[in-house]
Symmetry: C2
Subunit: 263 residues, 2 copies
């Protein structure tokens, strides 16, 4: 049995709590949040607290708190030499106060409180300073059905950067699609199958190979027509930049005739 | 039984051919392509030709050819007053030569020859000039299990524009993710669950509500760290533009202190 104390009650902590509760080999000893009200509804299933002084003993303390407060928060913990990890993709492991044993338990997935997640499909990136702590983090990942990946800080930060592109930025493109549909009273839902297929396709072939569309085809008439159709300046700027980028990736002429053959 | 002649042998025509062949209420009378070699392997299942003069009679001619050649190609057809449609998201229906009856049969999905598709989940946008032709296009969509949507030219072109954002541009972001992983010897596959979840999430909530990440949180330290980590100028430009865009969408302070409260 692995005993865990959860610190924080945001998107990640809430999903971790559910996954841990469902596991037979993990027990949540305590759940801390500085704002008690966000966890008070769990008071009859788990020991909750909003006081660091009340924190109990456990094999592992998981700080699922905002990136910016990880360092300070870890210093405020009133104990030493226990295993304390954060869940961030980008914060250095060494930002955690060295009075405790330090590590990272980064679930490479997007979490919002309301959206259900098949937790067993979440890759867990783990990192430790004291080698002997690797086992418990791997075991914890496996206890909730996930595959642990031992990676370096640099790899984790690189993965997080890539994740921002494929997740947050992609989601903003969905947002643009939604806005564009709304201007002409079209239901955004009609785009769902396309969005799903676009995501699925790159599990069969590389994004390079999967590309289609006017930019890849260098279909100038369509590009011109679409630029006319765009109503928001912001959409236009992104359209131009990503069209140019796709052309460059696929080596299609980019309106610089003299260079077009080598470019 | 609906008889169809397919014109073109690219991504769309190839998937249409498969879907029509699988349907019991559609027969492909003939398959034309200007380059015979791309369809010659089908010669024992369907009548193939590379000569417009040899085209037979059918209920419907589907031009699944490149956008830029639709107008010219439709003029070259050696017959009149038959139903001729294109499959483009952006070309005007009226670009088709009026010597025939005209229409559009636009499958709102991304097709590449090698990737399998569950055709029955493809929304089909239909448009006709002569009202009486609406039925056959709707019936054809239903014959391959798809939902037909009657839309206007403007709505179709708007949808196509939105599709470019959520499909081609999104795919280019996947490409960036792939490139970023490669720089640090990380397998791109580790991002697949995140990519799939990002696409699934917006079927449960709006992209606006689904957004997470450093830009949405206005997590300046992470943004700064990530900008340092980026190696390609192109990635940097997109990172900055989409970060600013997400901040704007979610009303987070955008480094203009005097305006920050209203902006
Ligand atoms: N969301 C994702 O998709 C995702 C995915 C992977 C990793 N992560 C990482 O997981 C961590 C948590 O993210 P999240 O999305 O769960 O965040 P979140 O939903 O915004 O929740 C933040 C939590 O941190 C607490 N907190 C904020 N400032 C604090 C402070 N100064 N002192 C103590 N507690 C503080 C908040 O407490 P209050 O309730 O009192 O405000 C809240 O419990 C971050 O490191 C993030 O990078 C997030
Ligand atoms: N791919 C998609 O995801 C998608 C989705 C929805 C709609 N569409 C639309 O469907 C249509 C076809 O797209 P696609 O992706 O299938 O294109 P594609 O794979 O590039 O195939 C183009 C086809 O057009 C033919 N063609 C090109 N120029 C021609 C000309 N001057 N005369 C006669 N035939 C010519 C080509 O013949 P050769 O084989 O001889 O070169 C080929 O058969 C376009 O209108 C496109 O906008 C595409």
């Amino acid at each position: 049995m692995i005993s865990v104390i959860l610190l924080g009650a945001g998107n990640v902590a809430t999903h971790l709590y559910k996954a841990f509760s469902d596991s037979e080999t993990v027990s949540v000893t305590q759940w801390y949040n500085r704002t008690r009200s966000s966890i008070s509804s769990y008071a009859n299933e788990v020991d909750i607290t909003d006081s660091l002084e009340e924190l109990k003993e456990a094999d592992l303390y998981i700080m699922a708190v905002s990136d910016d407060c990880i360092a300070e928060f870890s210093s405020a913990l009133p104990f030493t030499n226990r295993l304390v990890v954060h869940t961030s993709g980008s914060v250095a492991m060494h930002d955690i106060d060295k009075k405790n044993q330090i590590g990272v338990f980064y679930p490479l997935q997007t979490f919002t409180k309301d959206a259900d997640i098949v937790f067993s499909e979440v890759p867990i990136c783990v990192e430790v300073y004291e080698k002997e702590n690797l086992k418990i983090l791997r075991d914890l990942a496996r206890a909730v059905g996930c595959k642990p990946h031992k990676i370096t800080t640099e790899q984790r930060q690189t993965l997080h950067l890539a994740a921002v592109f494929v997740n947050n930025f992609t989601n903003q493109l969905y947002r643009f699609g939604h806005e564009i549909c709304e201007t002409k009273n079209i239901e955004f839902e009609i785009l769902h199958p396309l969005i799903e297929e676009t995501a699925k396709k790159i599990q069969q072939m590389s994004p390079f190979k999967a590309q289609t569309g006017p930019a890849k085809r260098n279909d100038k008439r369509t590009i011109k027509r679409q630029l006319k159709l765009i109503e928001k300046e912001e959409h236009e700027a992104i359209y131009k930049m990503l069209t140019a980028s796709i052309k460059k990736t696929h080596n299609v002429s980019n309106y610089r005739p003299k260079k077009s053959k080598t470019n």
